[in-house]
């Protein structure tokens, strides 16, 4: 079946992708809300920055992360000194790289869902005694759910496949950062590594397709619950 190296890569990919999505979800919701509901000076700039990972070469993003979050970087250094937390060469750093790369996709999906929520319903909730925060969690968020789900799963699939940012920021460390993409890359360079590389390619394909399938099913179920199927 699969060699230990391949299983490692698979397990690691899944773990990194799950952490990436889970950690960036609250930020994505917050940013989507900010862009959808608020007007402020510099809003276009924020929008542009959020979308940078879509436009810039992934290696550039990886490089930025290296400068900022490496143990000698301004933020990474502080994290290392204060908490002993190292991101570079670790799966957590890989999760950060994957999260940054898939962030714009998540935000777009969530923002669309948010903009589709009827503001009239939110006002109705307020007349019934709910504060703004209460309205968000009890009305807005449940109604955004299909979009949040889709965005999360697309981000998950995207995280599974990240390469450029990951290898530039956290390097290729077997068992720590060698996700499926990096493993395929290494194997493709190794003489006689092609068969293994192809196996991993197939696994990646299956994973990505499954994720998209699950996302569609879930979104459909939720939409039906909301009476919008």
């Amino acid at each position: 079946m699969l060699t230990p190296v391949e299983l490692d890569a698979l397990r690691l990919s899944l773990q990194v992708a799950v952490v990436a999505v889970a950690a960036s979800l609250p930020f994505a919701v917050a940013v989507a809300w900010l862009l959808a509901r608020r007007d402020f000076a510099g809003k276009t700039l924020v929008d542009a920055i959020v979308h940078l990972p879509l436009v810039l070469p992934p290696v550039v993003i990886g490089f930025f992360l290296l400068i900022l979050l490496g143990t000698k970087g301004p933020i990474g250094g502080w994290l290392y000194e204060t908490f002993g937390l190292r991101l570079i060469f670790t799966r957590w750093g890989a999760a950060v790289a994957a999260a940054v790369m898939s962030f714009p996709l998540m935000v777009r999906s969530i923002r669309l869902a948010l903009e589709a929520v009827d503001r009239g319903l939110e006002f109705a909730a307020r007349t019934l005694g709910a504060s703004r925060l209460d309205v968000f969690f009890s009305v807005t968020l449940p109604l955004m759910l299909p979009g949040v789900l889709t965005g999360s799963i697309v981000a998950f699939a995207s995280s599974l496949g990240d390469f450029g940012a990951t290898i530039t920021f956290v390097g290729n460390v077997a068992g720590e950062t060698q996700t499926l993409s990096l493993a395929i890359y290494s194997l493709a360079q190794t003489p006689d590594g092609e068969a293994a590389a192809l196996r991993l390619v197939l696994i990646s394909l299956v994973l990505a397709l499954s994720a998209l399938f699950v996302s569609e099913m879930l979104a459909r179920r939720v939409r039906r619950m909301l009476g919008r199927a």
Binding site: L66, G70, T71, K72, R86, I88, F89, I167, G171, N172, V173, A174, Q178, S186, L187, A188, Q189, T190, P191, G193
Partner: protein, 256 residues
């Protein structure tokens, strides 16, 4: 107004690109191991000054380059950092066997970030763990395919610390990327060629691997079969000239 300026600038750029560069037909493409970058660029400049013709270089791990040539990349000359990748192409009849020559040699060193004053004798059973610290990692080219990584693995195996070292290894695409990690201080140590270490102010050589601990580092060079042209042969000859040898020596390579 701004829009018009942008359109004008765009048109100007496009026109510049359309102007044919001087004697393109004479320019050859050279695929070379990453560690040869600085030396070869200087040699390329000297060649242009001397003949008016240029060379286009592509520097990467020898493994990546060999596979690209195998896929049909338009390289005329291949300079590898180990014999195995040249063998790889020779077995597939992709080089002009007669032109294969061992051009250079190099030595393998252990480097640390500049601030670290450690000095260690690289003998069997040396304490790698002490160099790295509790959670430090070391970096070199991916031992599964990059020459410098292969030499490193061989050396560490012979010195008896590979089992431990493997658990702390970061695999880089090529020796220059490995060097960069050490320069940044992110990696506690790295194994690179002495020529690479010499180029950087931000790393220090903490120890030199004894020549007995690994196969000699050899840089074979050859003509790629599909692009055997007079221009290519001319450049190959220049690589073996005294002028080039002087430049190689300047950068610390051993010249055969």
């Amino acid at each position: 107004m701004v829009f018009r300026l942008l359109v004008a600038a765009g048109l100007a750029a496009a026109l510049t690109l359309a102007v044919p560069a001087p004697s393109r037909a004479q320019e050859i493409t050279v695929f070379a191991a990453a560690s040869l970058q600085n030396a070869l660029e200087e040699i390329g400049a000297a060649y242009r000054q001397r003949t008016g013709h240029g060379a286009i270089f592509s520097f990467a791990a020898s493994s990546a380059l060999a596979r690209q040539i195998e896929q049909g990349a338009p390289a005329a000359i291949f300079a590898s950092a180990d014999e195995q990748w040249m063998d790889y192409l020779q077995q597939r009849n992709l080089i002009v066997d007669a032109t294969r020559k061992p051009l250079l040699g190099n030595s393998l060193v252990l480097v640390v970030p500049a601030g670290n004053t450690a000095q260690i004798e690289l003998k069997p059973g040396f304490d790698f763990a002490r160099v790295l610290g509790a959670d430090g990692r070391w970096v070199t080219g991916d031992p599964s395919n990059v020459p410098v990584g292969r030499y490193a693995e061989e050396a560490l195996k012979n010195l008896g610390t590979w089992d431990f070292a493997q658990t702390r290894l970061v695999r880089a695409e090529n020796v220059r990327v490995a060097l960069a990690f050490v320069e940044r201080g992110e990696a506690a140590a790295g194994i690179v060629y002495s020529t690479d270490a010499a180029l950087s102010q931000k790393v220090r050589v903490a120890g030199v691997f004894p020549a007995t601990s690994h196969k000699p580092v050899t840089y074979p060079v050859a003509l790629v079969a599909r692009h055997d042209t007079p221009a290519a042969r001319e450049f190959l000859a220049f690589l073996e000239s005294d002028e080039s040898k002087a430049i190689f020596r300047k950068f610390g390579f051993v010249v055969h």
